[in-house]
């Protein structure tokens, strides 16, 4: 823990700089120094806390967790699991990875904004418009060659998500409107836009099912190929590779491109960005466009990969954009971290879904456990000072709390400073 110690000390001796640091700068500073320790510890604490809740309800947390674990399909990785159990595990792991695909991308949509000092709460809305466009493109143009059709649907959904997020970017650049507020509002507009499109009598409602508020089905040629498991049993489609490729793009974008450099400069210190001749407003817009594109592509992979149609009910109850926030926070806004966190949440969502629940456990409890663990993780990540102190054995906790600005979620409210 000497690294941590050095950090704490460097911070204490270098009191001169504390006032000038933006919250985003502090977050990055901590990210650099506390590495993967804090996220892992955070997750462990969250699972222990969840276990205590299970215990309090009179169940055995160990058997609950083992049941959830088997539900995720991660046990497929164990060579000793064989026979029917292995087939079940494979099916579960396919489901987990299907969930992971979209979670990676909505996570990146939030993470990229964080890196530029913005808090994109609008993943949900950007995902929703992406889904609307993807399902429309996917269910139309029936004669198109498959590869072109799929590419067209994914790109169109990405552009739709980008445009949706871009609205918040433009509003921030031109009027200073806080992106937290504008993206939340855009979420609602997107959701009701989707409901309008597919409701009974809506312009995009499935004409062959006049009494169901649902879109038309994606045509066979626009479906993503399944490479593991059976397409009929919702096997794993190639979308996961697209998500992983985009995570690589994210990493390159952040570290190796001029735009990423500008975005990080704006995120850490908007005043220094201005000083360096960076157009801060334009950077905000570009960053939001990219965030929206990630979320839009996430939706297209869900639609073309396994959903194939969109119910108004789904649009209204989906929580994916908000999982994206948790994924980005736990992944510390890095590409690798986001992928790992997406896998964790993908596993949790699959492992606690109805069909995987062992009858000895209260099914509602197990489902809520996902939400509880998610909540605890977000809470702990937002207050990683506490976790750092736990590591340090609680020393000087008062001093530390007094000295550090409270930056909930580490969102640099860059525009304000």
């Amino acid at each position: 823990m000497s690294q941590l110690e050095d950090e704490l000390n460097a911070e204490a001796t270098e009191s001169e700089g504390a006032a000038a640091r933006s919250p985003a700068a502090l977050t990055a500073f901590r990210r650099g120094l506390s590495g993967v320790t804090v996220p892992i510890l955070t997750t462990v604490i969250a699972f222990i806390a969840g276990g205590l809740i299970v215990l309090a309800t009179g169940h055995n947390p160990l058997s609950t967790y083992s049941s959830i674990f088997n539900g995720t399909g991660f046990n497929w990785l164990f060579p000793w699991v064989g026979g029917a159990a292995r087939a079940t595990a494979a099916g579960n792991l396919q489901q987990t990875l299907i969930q992971t695909t979209a979670l990676i991308l909505v996570g990146l949509a939030v993470a990229f904004a964080f890196r530029a000092g913005m808090f994109n709460i609008g993943g949900q809305g950007q995902y929703t418009v992406g889904a609307i466009v993807a399902v429309w493109v996917g269910s139309s143009f029936a004669g198109m060659p498959a590869v072109l059709h799929i590419a067209f649907a994914i790109v169109a959904a990405g552009l739709a998500g980008a445009a949706w997020a871009g609205i918040a970017g433009v509003l921030k650049a031109l009027t200073g409107a806080n992106e937290v507020i504008s993206t939340i509002m855009l979420n609602w507009i997107a959701i009701w836009l989707g409901v309008y499109c597919f409701q009974l009598g809506g312009p995009l409602q499935n004409p062959s099912m006049p009494s169901t508020p649902v879109s038309s089905n994606v045509v066979a040629g626009a479906k993503l190929p399944v490479f593991w498991g059976s397409a009929a049993l919702q096997g794993l489609d190639v979308g996961i590779f697209i998500a992983l490729a985009l995570a690589v793009v994210f990493a390159l974008l952040i570290k190796r491109t001029r735009l990423g450099y500008e975005a990080r400069t704006v995120g850490f210190n908007p005043e220094a960005a201005r000083y360096a001749g960076i157009n801060v407003g334009r950077t905000w817009i570009r960053v939001m466009l990219i965030c929206g594109a990630f979320a839009g592509v996430a939706a297209s992979l869900d639609i073309l990969g396994w959903k194939f149609s969109l119910f108004t009910n789904d649009i209204q109850t989906s929580q994916i954009g908000f999982y994206g926030i948790a994924v980005a926070l736990l992944g510390r806004n890095t590409a690798g971290g986001t992928v790992a966190a997406a896998l964790l949440f993908g596993g949790l969502l699959t492992g606690t879904s109805d069909r995987n629940i062992n009858l000895s456990i209260d099914p509602t409890l197990v489902q809520y456990l996902t939400f509880m663990i998610e909540g605890i993780i977000v809470l702990l990540v937002s207050t990683d000072v506490i976790t750092l102190r736990l590591l340090k054995g609680g020393q000087r906790i008062g001093v530390a709390l007094g000295r550090r600005p409270r930056d909930v979620a580490g969102a640099g409210r860059g525009g304000g400073s």
Partner: protein, 512 residues
């Protein structure tokens, strides 16, 4: 001195380690009532750590603290305050929206029948401020008073809590020359009143003016404690740095060429839409350093912002080697050949969580050597950083180190290195040595002179009288947004002082 009474405060063999770094190594320090004892040392010499130990922020690894001859344990700032220790931090700890009186009594409010007795608070504040000459308006809001007044409020806060031992941490760093003089008067009154004062600084001149004794720290160790009598700037500088230093920059006469910076009839407004630069014209020629001297707030910031493209002027021209860039933004200014050493390295000049390689690319990252087709050339950034870090003798980390991990002086070297390396025609140096210790000041000065000798036009904007005297070939005085006088570097402090405060008596006689 004063062996008869025990010192108000004595630190004995204080040792504080951070990991493997020894921030304080068996440091002794004491101060008696009615004495000003200065603590002098470079950035990172351990002054702040020692005071944090005293104020209960750190627990020392070894050593003891005595108040009035009795050993005490100081566990928190609250216990330090209870023991009569008052600390005036470099960064003020005030509530901007509350009044002066409210800030002073905060935490120890006088009450009458369970209600805040503001009348009593005001009266007490007034009494203290009269007694020590700390002029403040008890009813003014903190956000509306000057930095100097905020500092007086901090001092009053400590006095209100009956501080007998007053620690002033770099108190002059934020003050104008006039405010510094006022502060020294206040310190002398506090001293006469029998309070013990610890004065932390890295400015030699000030320390010689105000202190009775001077203790020098270097790399965590006490080097020596010397009485003021007999000490000189040179002898102190030698103690601080550990070698001989050149206090006044030595420079051959410049050979100025044509004007590279030509500002004509410039009008600039500030954020509140008040005109801060009013029809100002000035020119800086190739191969000369021109100092812009003035009291802070007379339009220097707005002028610098307009020249460097950070702020669009209302009217007028800013020509860089004949090319007008007024109002065209930072990028246009950079491309025309303007480099800008920013006044506040942490606010503007550096991105603290960036590596040094990333920071050193900030001015030129768009140029073909640094990026092409949207991609950064990381290899070039790295090589460039290594070269500059060596050339500018930046210590504390390599190209991959974070800027936040460096000391203030090394951070400033990084900012200076980047701007100079961009090969500018015009170098605007705004307070380039603010907060630096003597060694680093000497270094920056030498580099600025070297740039001048390479034929660049250097505009030095400074509030430091020493710097204004030592560096330039010409001195221009700015007052209320206009140039009110031009002086040779030999001009006396009085001549400059009169011009800086708007007096116009001698200007015509001494102007070049």
């Amino acid at each position: 001195m004063a062996q008869s009474t025990p010192p108000a405060l004595a630190l004995k063999e204080i040792t504080k380690k951070f990991g493997s770094v020894v921030a304080n190594d068996r440091v002794d320090f004491d101060v008696v009532p009615g004495e000003v004892h200065a603590l002098l040392g470079e950035n990172g010499a351990g002054k702040s750590t020692l005071m944090s130990v005293l104020y209960g922020l750190y627990k020392p690894d070894a050593g003891e603290i005595l108040i009035d001859g009795k050993t005490v344990e100081i566990e928190s700032p609250a216990s330090a305050i209870a023991l009569g220790i008052g600390m005036v931090h470099q960064h003020f700890m005030l509530v901007p929206v509350m009044t002066v009186a409210e800030n002073i009594v905060l935490g120890q409010e006088p009450t009458r029948r369970w209600r805040l007795d503001l009348k009593a608070a005001r009266a007490r504040v007034r009494e203290l401020s009269d007694r020590y000459g700390l002029a403040v308006d008890p009813d003014a809001r903190i956000e509306n008073v000057t930095v100097g007044a905020q500092q007086r409020v901090e001092i009053l806060k400590a006095l209100y809590r009956d501080a007998r031992i007053l620690v002033l941490d770099e108190p002059t760093a934020v003050l104008t020359a006039q405010e510094v003089r006022e502060l020294i008067t206040v310190i002398n009154r506090l001293k006469e009143d029998g309070r013990a004062i610890v004065f932390i600084s890295h400015k030699l001149g000030e320390v010689l003016q105000v202190a009775d004794r001077i203790t020098v720290l270097r790399r965590g160790k006490k080097v020596d404690t010397v009485p003021r009598a007999g000490a000189t700037e040179l002898s102190l500088a030698r103690l601080v740095v550990g070698r001989d230093v050149m206090l006044s920059a030595e420079k051959p006469a410049g050979r100025p060429g044509e004007a590279l910076l030509d500002v004509r009839d410039l009008h600039v407004r500030d954020d509140r839409d008040l005109e801060k630069v009013s029809g100002l014209s000035l020119a800086v020629r190739a191969g000369e350093i021109v100092a812009l001297a003035g009291v802070d707030g007379n339009g220097q910031q707005e002028l610098v912002d307009a020249i460097t493209g950070m702020r669009a002027p209302r009217s007028g021209a800013v020509a860089i080697d004949g090319q007008d860039i007024a109002g065209k933004g930072v990028r246009a200014a950079t491309e025309a050949g303007v480099a800008h050493i920013a006044e506040d390295r942490q606010l503007r000049g550096l991105v603290l969580p960036f590596t040094l390689a990333e920071n050193l690319a900030l001015r030129e990252y768009r140029s073909p050597e640094f990026s092409g087709h949207g991609w950064l050339r990381l290899g070039h950034m790295q090589q460039r950083a290594e070269k500059l870090l060596a050339e500018f003798d930046v210590r504390g980390g390599g190209a991959e180190a974070y800027a936040a991990a460096l000391s203030g002086g090394n951070q400033q070297k990084v900012a200076v290195a980047r701007e100079i390396a961009s090969n500018p025609k015009v170098l605007v140096a705004h307070q380039p040595t603010r907060g630096l210790d003597v060694g680093a000041i000497e270094f920056v000065h030498r580099r600025l002179i070297a740039e001048r000798d390479k034929g660049r036009a250097v505009l030095l904007v400074s509030l430091e009288y020493e710097e204004v005297k030592a560096l330039p070939d010409r001195i221009l005085v700015i007052y209320e947004g206009e140039i009110v006088g031009e002086f040779p570097p030999e001009a006396s402090e009085e001549q400059l002082g009169v011009a800086m405060t708007g007096g116009k008596t001698e200007r015509t006689e001494v102007a070049l």
